[in-house]
Amino acid sequence: MSPEIDVKTLIIDEQEVSGLRGQTILEVARENDIDIPTLCHMDGLSDVGACRLCLVEIKGSNKLLPACVATIYEGMEVSTNTGRLQQHRRTILELLFAERNHVCAVCVANGHCELQSLAQQQGVTHVRLPYRNPELGVDASHERFTVDHNRCILCTRCVRVCAEVEGAHIWDVMGRGINSVVITDLHQDWGSSACTRCGKCVQVCPTGALFDKSKVGSDHPKYPDFLTLLNQMREAQ
């Protein structure tokens, strides 16, 4: 009996690539230095397919697929950067900028922000949509960290890292639709929650929504790469 063939060959942006069965389009693309923008995806966390920035076009289908969760198949032809996709990505980024109060000039993450970088990369030069300017709070009750809901994009990376890696599940989402907010415990102050103070959520937060109190101004680079290492070490054990 011949062993089952597990390697699939496919075409991404006119480049012939191969991957293992079960791999996602995103994984294969990144292995081959093809960049697909992502925001809610983070190596080392489960995928939720929520930000819709990684949507790609598949030949023969009118439906756009999220590259972070869509798995590859033999003979698939993927386009990751068509005009239609670029348009959608810009609109989605605009929607994010107009949704809450993102003011880069006074943000702790200025220069180290994934939302900011994506906007530059995707050529978002201005926001056509009316700004919503919602009234949102800042919770600085924690001894080390602060959450500023004005800058949150609800990617839920903090929720996932706390539940899946730290195992504490302090973060979750409350409310629905445009009124959704991330909360700690059952909507208690972060400072009085059961938080373990590990700081993983701060490191994986793509914007300045979660930040370290000891860092000021724009001096706040984040190092989310620890997650991949951590997962590797855990698997090795």
Partner: protein
């Protein structure tokens, strides 16, 4: 329980009913009950006792034309009485066998003649809390036949042959879905019924669950046998307390009669059903969100694949169908797939229940064969637009559907035809609008609904619907610009193409369809600051005197 025992029960119910000379059926569905049908029934019982006539007063589920409620049907004459109040009880009983009460008489022939009742065949004929009433009308016969005479594949074949498509809105072929779940590997499988009906103006599933709950349970049990499941869940929204109560009673009665539980009918097949309540989220009608909600998690959708057929409830293969789909199963099994396939149009078979609401004479439930012209539903069965107003549009499919204008009324109702004109079949809500409805305002209403019901998980739906609502509000208020309109159209495309689940993907449909057929109304609001229907409150610009 065996088929012979079932026949015995049916016979005894018929013998019991034969003791009476007259049957007075009182509709006790929500619309009628809220207008005093409960008191009316009590008075009818009293009057019947006082008269000495042999009268059976029976409470029933929805009879259909809710706007004529409280409704009473007197059998065997099949005389309908409308707008009946409790003080007419004596007159009705006195009129039995003689002259009907003239002031209550109504002509609903046009309303009923155009209908074909499959799902609603028992509506108005049985007491929903009595399992024996259901059994007397061939209830559970299909289940027992299936268990004793058919193979699971045979059942699936029959459903496939019938051409039944999912009645929840998507129109996915039911037989295909069943065979996918049947083929999925796994020791445990689940059958789930989606009773989280949430479209504004839709109440078909509620009426079925309240008026004929055993029909849904029987359909689920047959499905469980076909796919190899032994556990089922009915997910009902908590806003339907009567449906929940009736289903609870029905489940208890079915267990008592041995129609649910272990080793049904002496076969190795076991099946039981649990009720799960929704906590008021429209998005939980989406299958992956519904499954998350049953599991006790936050009701948010997940990307598919994996489809529930492969990995659903607790990661097990799960069959998920809508209430009305399950309600069609027993008649298909009883009468054969071909019987069902003979009704309807080429690619949409059978009948569909619609909830007619809005500016129409006979609001209520109707069941019509697929392929019937919209005009017939609205003008003949629905009785047309009242008050001398002019028909303007009909909205199908709720917040996921679109508005169909007057010149398309000769369209035959089917999944594909409705999709083609920019609407969808949806679960069956049909909202009729006349010249007093502003189409921009209608679009704004539906977008507001989608905005508040969005779960907030994906960005296009969460922020996109909120932005669309803002832009539509500006247009309604007479401060919108042509730039706003262009932006709105842009957003429609992005929200439609990039949203995670069906809620977001279809949310722009009401806007897109009104833009397509009623663009002049948008332009009138923007360019002339005028609402043609006089609905939007546009303030005249204040003149500043120098």
């Amino acid at each position: 329980m065996t088929i012979e025992e079932l026949d015995q029960i049916a016979l005894s119910v018929r013998q019991e009913n034969a003791k009476y000379d007259y049957e007075v059926n009182v509709c006790m569905d929500l619309a009628c009950a809220s207008q005093g049908a409960g008191l009316l029934r009590d008075e009818l019982v009293k009057a019947a006792e006082a008269s000495g006539k042999k009268v059976l007063v029976r409470r029933t589920g929805c009879m259909g034309p809710c706007s004529s409620g409280p409704l009473v049907r007197v059998d065997p004459e099949e005389q309908h009485y409308h707008h009946v109040t409790a003080n007419y009880a004596e007159a009705i009983v006195a009129g039995l066998g003689g002259k009907p009460v003239p002031e209550l008489q109504c002509d609903l022939n046009d309303h009923f003649d155009g209908q074909v009742r499959v799902v609603l065949e028992n509506a108005g004929h049985i007491d929903p809390e009595k399992i024996d009433d259901y059994i007397s009308r061939d209830g559970y016969k299909a289940l027992l036949t299936v268990l004793t005479e058919m193979t699971p594949n045979g059942v699936i074949h029959r459903i496939t042959e019938s051409g039944l498509r999912g009645r929840g809105g998507g129109g996915y072929p039911t037989g295909l879905k069943w065979s996918t779940v049947a083929k999925a590997t796994g020791d445990v499988k689940y059958v789930v019924c989606n009773g989280d009906e949430g479209d504004p103006g839709a109440f078909m599933d509620r009426s079925v669950m309240e008026g004929d709950p055993h029909r849904v349970i029987e359909g689920m049990a047959i499905a469980a046998y076909a796919i190899g499941a032994s556990k089922g869940y009915i997910y009902v929204r908590a806003e339907y307390p009567v449906a929940v109560a009736r289903l609870t009673t029905a489940l208890r009665e079915a267990r008592r009669r041995g129609l649910l539980g272990s080793n049904l009918c002496g076969t190795p097949f076991s099946f039981d059903v649990e009720i799960r309540l929704g906590a008021g989220a429209f998005v939980c009608g989406e299958e992956t969100a519904l499954i998350a909600s049953i599991e006790g998690r936050r009701g948010t959708p997940k990307p598919r694949p994996p489809y529930p057929a492969v990995s659903g409830l607790w990661g097990k293969p799960t069959l998920l169908n809508n209430v009305e789909t399950y309600a069609n199963i027993a008649p298909i099994v009883r009468n054969g797939g071909k019987w069902f396939a003979n009704m309807g149009s080429e690619r949409s078979k059978g009948t569909k229940v619609f909830a007619l609401t809005g500016k129409i004479t006979n609001t209520g439930l109707v069941e019509v064969p697929m392929g019937i012209k919209l005009r017939e539903i609205i003008e003949t069965i629905g009785g047309g637009v009242p008050g001398g107003h002019k028909f303007k549009a009909v909205q199908t499919g709720g917040p996921s559907g679109g508005c169909i204008p007057a010149d398309m009324l000769d369209l035959g109702v089917s999944y594909d035809a409705l999709m083609k004109v920019g609407s969808i079949m949806g679960s069956g809500g049909m909202i009729v609008m006349d010249d007093t409805s502003c189409m921009v305002n209608v679009a704004r209403f539906f977008i507001e609904f989608c905005m508040t019901e969005s779960c907030g998980k994906c960005i296009p739906c969460r922020a996109g619907t909120a932005q669309m609502f803002t832009l539509l509000t500006r247009i309604c208020n007479g401060v919108g610009t042509m730039d706003d309109l262009a932006l709105l159209e842009d957003l429609c495309v992005t929200v439609k193409e990039t949203s995670l689940c069906g809620l977001g993907q279809t949310a722009p449909n009401p806007v897109l369809s009104t833009l397509k057929y009623f663009r002049d109304e948008y332009l009138e609001h923007i360019n002339h600051k005028r609402c043609p229907a006089g609905v939007c409150n546009i303030q005249a610009p204040v003149e500043v005197l120098a």
